[in-house]
Symmetry: C2
DNA sequence: GGATGTAAGTTCCATTCGGAATGTACATCC
DNA sequence: GGATGTACATTCCGAATGGAACTTACATCC
């Protein structure tokens, strides 16, 4: 008897609603509690749904997590894609792109992703679920980026992109542990300087 | 009745032996099973010790984990410090230092550290235990590095160091998930090139 | 509008967890 | 060499977990 869904809902709508409610609640739990303390019961409580429901949608907890990964990356991809196409070209675009990747990889969505990533290391099932999705996200983002910075040789652009992504992920870890934000800002600024330099070096 | 400890052991020795056995077993578990599946029972089984022992040494699981962090960083620090002092000076030293940091931050010890880090994000107690220890490790390593690359302005050396550390941590995450080793090698080589360039730029 | 299948809620169970209580072996000190 | 305190083992318990079985509610199709 939720306040939503007062009207008639088709079966597909019902299904989709509780499904996304479950996945969103899962991400919430990952961010708030971490993977270790994310229980099915807690997810159900947050989603306003019973345990039976999750079992109906997902045969096991791992499957729920796998679906959450997809849900998560889909959201992240959407956010990134939207911002990237609005990037300016040239060297100012490089700096802006780095900021963008940092924002993308340091937000709550990425926090949840990190939880799943780390958990996946020792959970083969989850791992197999994550890998293709993550690869697709990387490719998709890379495509958008290279499309914007088109005057760079493809290989150079890729290297610059992946360096940024990995640096950003390291910084995100640092942020999660409560490292010094000022230093992170400093490092990111320096990296932008270097990246722009490299960019101009190669494209000029 | 282990094969070790057949001789008389003083109380302090007994205490120290089972303590380190427990901590080593904890790290083992973190690497093999991940934080979520690391239970006290499993640790005891691997350490060849009973549950009562861990309770005698550590009042709660969180305390064990906190001690494991310290044990871990101490080991890591030892390994890094030993290798760093043997570094050559000049730009070849920069490249070698990067390789060293990569090795240090991508081994099993660091894998366990990452598990604890991520878990600490949502566990205040563990977090408070980790922060000072991690900071000390960073400072200690940084000190050694700056001592070797002494002809660089201090601030520049620090930035270079932290950029490398964070990049390395991002790459380590990628490695854990089974990313392409060839690409990681490529990225690391490129970063070495850039770092050497920056180094020569500033010190010349 | 009544039959039918799917979505979701309720209840239950086996397992496992961390931690407490209690008992035993060992080392130290007189 | 016997008393005493520390290190470790055994056993138990309440709580929480994931998953199964069963029941109820809803939408769809005739």
């Amino acid at each position: 008897m939720s306040v939503l869904g007062r009207t008639h809902r088709t079966q597909a709508e019902r299904r989709e609603q509780t499904r996304t409610a479950l996945l969103d609640a899962t991400i919430d739990c990952l961010v708030d509690l971490g993977y270790a303390r994310t229980s099915v019961q807690e997810i159900c409580a947050r989603a306003g749904v019973s345990k039976g429901a999750v079992q109906h949608h997902f045969s096991a907890k791992a499957e729920l997590m796998a679906a959450a990964v997809e849900h998560l990356t889909e959201k992240l991809r959407g956010r990134l894609a939207a911002s990237i196409t609005a990037l300016p070209g040239g060297s100012s675009g490089v700096a802006a792109a780095i900021d963008l990747l940092w924002e993308g990889y340091s937000g709550t969505l990425s926090t949840a992703a990190t939880e799943l990533w780390v958990a996946a290391r020792t959970d083969p099932e989850l791992r197999e679920a994550i890998r293709p999705v993550d690869k697709a996200l990387g490719r998709s983002t890379l495509e958008h980026v290279t499309a914007v910075a088109g005057d760079l040789p493809k290989e150079r652009a890729e290297i610059l992109f992946w360096l940024t992504v990995n640096l950003t992920r390291g910084l995100a870890l640092d942020a999660e542990l409560g490292g010094d934000p000022k230093r992170r800002r400093q490092l990111l600024d320096e990296w932008k300087r270097v990246a722009v330099m490299l960019y101009e070096d190669t494209s000029a």
